[in-house]
Amino acid sequence: MNKNNLLCLGIESTAHTFSIAILTEDRILSNVKEVYVPPPGEGIHPYEAAQHHIRRAKKVLDTALSKSGVCMKDVDVIAFSAGPGLGPCLKVGAVIARTLAAYYNKPLTAVNHAIGHIELANFFAKTVDPVVVLVSGGHTLVSSYLMKRWRIFGETLDITLGQLFDQLGRELGFGSPAGRYIEELASRGKRYIEMPYSVKGNNVSFSGLLTYAKNLIKKGYSKEDVCYSVQETAFAMLTEVTERLLAFSEKKEIILTGGVAANSRLQEMIKSLCRVHNVAFHVIPSEFSGDCGAQIALVGLLQYKSNNVIDVEESFVKQSWRIDEVDITWRD
């Protein structure tokens, strides 16, 4: 096979988002998505999200193909998000991937969703050996690469940043993901209210902060001030653990990725850190920070090129799947 112009079709289906992307190693040809939005004030219902994905799948696939200007027979490999995520949602993506692979007789590869966030960011920034800060609904961790794995040096000991914002958002009557609403309210906050600050080694904990903030809302404190203070506190904690890993690992670049990477206040804080330590700052383009097919397609392509494919019979989904359990077959 000509390994330079390979085409990968990637399917993302771990939670809210159903998305399909088609790309080559140096260009994203299409990246189409549909996002399930739960009723205001409620969290995600896994079965309803899965129903949403089933209903939209055909349209997303057709649009991804037509936008990229290729047809199924040109595709070299099919990738799907095998985990971690919500079982019913994962199964939708997996079934579609298996069906396409079997029907068109294409190889299949199973991608870890979080590795997708990391590698897509690296793809845009062309990083060499970064400290990774992954912040999303499913993850909040700091990592760097060593011996075939993305190693977890620190993470949340309870809820993620995405969950912190979603659960606070729910208290305020927003649907999830609520990150954007919280950021908007926070930008109008004026008064800083001191909140629980919890850093343990390289790890953070947000549940105390969440409880504290919810209580302030119930007591009638200004929503803007509470959101502002939650952001300031949570991001400072995360930036502190990032600094700890940076000092420990002596790496020369930081990359910020995942849905919450789009938050400009968080970017500002990590940037301020980079200036102190004189290291390069990178962030995934906001268009690609949220869950999308491109993160799956990119890793799928890298896996395929390093002969990391699976049989349809063994294409299981894994609701739990840590990034440090994934062999990175395409890196030294």
Binding site: L157, K200, R244, A247, F248, S320
Partner: protein
């Protein structure tokens, strides 16, 4: 005449002179991402804690630098310069074959825990193996606290395990086993703590234990 030798996670580390002797001056930096009031408060608290616990644990036989001077308001500590290699470098240079150092690391953590002192940041750059006598010194007590809770001690061990697993995966099992043998020797509650460490790992996000 003062020389910056390390930009740590929290502090700038200088080699300096104190009444004629060569010393370390640790100065906690002001953090651009902390609000001013938080910044002053955290740096002050951590400087006080570090000074207090470095002195306290000596009484139990844990080796730490001698403190000459401490100014919480400036966030600085002047202390003994421990000439040696960090545990991190010793492991990276594959010099960890004989387990005496690792046993000693575990023994010191065990002593601290048996006195309900939680180090809070037991990473491999916070242990120094002194050149002349091979003794293991512990530094960086800014996150140290007093607690009798099993969970707090287990988190401390979890932090150590996490850094070995991620930064030194090649010898992870061997290293951890030797450290735990030292830990268990000095701390009679170690079995209970280690069970709790497993529990913490099970609670970890997307854990498949």
């Amino acid at each position: 005449m003062e020389r910056l030798i390390k930009v740590g996670a929290e502090a700038n580390i200088f080699i300096s002179k104190w009444h004629g002797i060569e010393v370390i001056r640790k100065v906690r930096r002001s953090k651009p991402y902390w609000r001013e009031e938080l910044d002053l408060k955290i740096r002050k608290i951590r400087t006080i804690r570090e000074t207090y616990y470095i002195n306290l644990v000596k009484k139990f036989g844990v080796l730490t630098p001698v403190i000459y001077f401490s100014d919480p308001f400036k966030g600085e500590i002047v202390m003994e310069y421990i000439k040696g290699d960090r545990l991190k470098d010793v492991i990276e240079n594959d010099n960890i074959r004989e387990g005496k150092i690792l046993y000693e690391v575990g023994r010191e953590l065990g002593i601290m825990h048996s006195h309900n002192i939680i180090h809070g940041d037991p990473t491999t750059s916070n242990f120094i193996i002194k050149n002349n006598d091979g003794m293991v010194y512990i530094i960086d007590f800014g996150l140290t606290f007093y607690s009798q809770r099993v969970e707090d001690k287990a988190v401390d061990i979890h932090l150590f395990k996490q850094v070995i697993k991620s930064a030194h995966p090649k010898y992870f099992e061997q290293i951890f086993e030797k450290v735990i043998s030292g830990y268990s020797r000095t701390y009679n509650m170690s079995t209970k703590i280690l069970e709790n460490v497993k529990e913490i790992e099970r609670r970890g996000r997307y854990a498949t234990l």
